[in-house]
Subunit: 385 residues, 2 copies
């Protein structure tokens, strides 16, 4: 298989974008990525989207979006894996380029979530959980992650206050990201006093409902050397796995097995370990998720994932800066776009283009994107070629 | 890229299966395919499904279905391209095996359409058309294909009666398929006198709402030679393309450009032409679709696609038997499963396992699967290795 490089990145603004449709958001991000790559044409296209059907009444996004991008004569494929849709789309694009099937591939992710009201959005998101055994009984994602949080606090003694440092750290990063939905800082007290959603989770522990799109252009590394004038960013590793869809089928609620396996596969392929990563974007859909994910990836010891944000280890300037973009919490979480937006952030970090939130000398970054309560997960490792 | 073979096939019954859930249908088909392949394990999995969200309130199917199949530790990816979801999923599986990324890959397709009423099913299916410019104005798929039919009859002089021979031929084939939803014969008079849906289309021109699943196991051809005791079926060609999502953006309503391009790509890769194909499964969602598709693939001259069913050319025993399974019309059309079910039928034909509907001496077959009113299309050519 051929080495693959990311040669272009683009993102729409993230937020409540009532004046932009799903197709417009996608075209904004895709056009920016194509322009950044400096390519004349793309050979094939992937798009990650969780639920065009339930959010905007539009499936068949491969056709719609290829059409509105002006490339409706190429292969285009929509990929769905709930909130991991974008990350899985990137992996499919990677496989297509690595295989030799196509040379220049666009991978986008998009979600338009604010055309429906909050109840309908919560219903749509809940279709990522087990419809027959979880959702039927009335639980939605804040409730599921609240169970994870309670189990974690009980098992490891992590405090509610420690957990609050996670979104505080992410908002600090996000305050430096002009495309973030909530680009402002929050405080630990603010988190603890915010509206209760599902005990122990408060609203400032929860990623928001967001409209947005992100896109990247990838090609063989050898082609990138000729095409691109920017620092070359290579896909060093990819890993993808699944786990039981329902929490009740797991031995340990606090262990995200799909992320563990996806991480192991990506690290093995890249020939590196957690200590070799300079910057990471992980799936902090809820504060507790970032904590468990950092442990699953080997960035923190078991039971100690809650300490990094408090100690500053996961902040800019710390040992392993996590979610420099602001993460899902501050940057926003347009579910199908998130996995691709993570690739955008890490690529910009490795190119040294992250401005105020630049991790100095970053040479290797990791992205982790997951669906549901961890029923699917995908990990990528990017490095300066 | 490596040569790829189909080594296992499986299908659930197709029909109104009120006692089987989406996950059960998928597991039935996937288990049958794995047993037929005789493999101990699969490395990765794809599933084509159009709208788990709108039909059963369940997205994140990669995780749900890997879990219920008992393989929730492998990469799994759901692919959606409206009614072409199954065919596109097969192509993604092909790319993954051909690339060297994985060896044994399961590709399934599934749709559970009868848990909602007819109006909701029609709404869900209409999300494959242009939501903003077609569906918003009240048109659904029978209306869109009726426009194609009227344009075609006007342009080429094909009669309403000629068109009726298409479903008559397909039902004759389907009457020999024990898994078909409607395994009985119909008459030309019956079609012409059946309920009007959208002029000139009658209900017996329209494929039905169906529950069902299909699955295949693929692996490198070299591995297949060691593993399989059955005749080896190789993937000789694959092609995939898109077209404008909306009919009003096309120069000619009767020309399916995505199918033309996908067919050209698949024929080129296989190094053969339409005359070299012994059996074909094509996307006859409406009678007029089969007619236009046969022309797009070069099986009929332009304007003469309506003559094959009447003359017997596309029937069993004819020059190019089309839809020996009964096609979408008689076998049924669980939208996400259809593209994979086409691969099942052609594989069985090439293995000589099709019983009463066997095409004698079939050595090479083609499948064509499309989404919406042809906004996406995928073509595969299989041949005896």
């Amino acid at each position: 298989m051929r080495d693959v490089a990311v040669i272009g990145v683009g993102m729409s603004e993230f937020g409540e974008l009532w004046k932009k449709s799903l197709r417009q958001l996608f075209v904004d991000a895709a056009s920016a990525a194509i322009e950044d790559a400096g390519v004349e044409k793309i050979d094939s296209m992937y798009v990650g989207c969780m639920s065009g059907g339930l959010f905007v009444g539009q499936e068949h996004l491969a056709s719609v979006l290829a059409d509105y991008l002006g490339v409706a004569s190429i292969p285009a494929c929509r990929v769905e894996s709930a909130c991991a849709s974008g990350g899985v789309a990137f992996r499919q694009g990677y496989i297509e380029v690595a295989s030799g099937m196509s040379d220049v591939v666009l991978v986008g992710g998009v979600e338009k979530m604010t055309d429906v009201d909050g109840a309908q959005a919560t219903y749509a998101l809940a279709t990522a959980a087990d419809q027959e055994y979880e959702v039927y009984h009335g639980v939605t994602f804040p409730g599921l992650y609240a169970m994870v949080a309670n189990a974690y606090m009980h098992k490891f003694g992590t405090t509610r206050k420690q957990m609050a440092h996670v979104p505080v750290k992410s908002h600090k990063h996000g305050s430096m990201n002009p495309k973030a939905q909530y680009p402002f800082e929050i405080t630990v007290e603010g988190v603890l006093e915010s509206t209760r959603v599902a005990d122990p989770l408060r609203i400032l522990d929860c990623s928001p409902i967001t409209d947005g799109a992100a896109a990247v252009v990838i090609c063989p590394l050898e082609t990138a050397k000729k095409l691109s004038k920017k620092p070359l960013v290579k896909v060093a590793g990819t890993g993808h796995s699944t786990d039981t869809i329902a929490l009740h089928d797991r031995d340990d609620l606090t262990e995200f097995a799909a992320t563990i396996r996806a991480g192991e596969a990506a690290f093995k392929m890249a020939g590196v370990g957690p200590k070799d990563i300079d910057v990471a974007e992980v799936h902090d859909c809820f504060s507790i998720a970032e904590i468990c994910v950092l442990e699953a990836l080997g960035f923190a010891e078991r039971g100690k994932g809650g300490e990094g944000a408090e100690s500053g280890e996961t902040a800019l300037g710390g040992r392993i800066p996590v979610n420099t973009s602001g993460g899902l919490k501050s940057k926003g979480h347009p579910v199908g776009a998130t996995g691709v937006a993570q690739i955008v952030e890490v690529t910009e970090q490795l190119r040294g283009e992250s401005g105020k939130r630049q991790v100095e000398g970053a040479k290797r970054g990791l992205t982790q994107n997951m669906g549901g309560s961890g029923g699917s997960a995908v990990v990528h490792i990017l490095e300066v070629a």
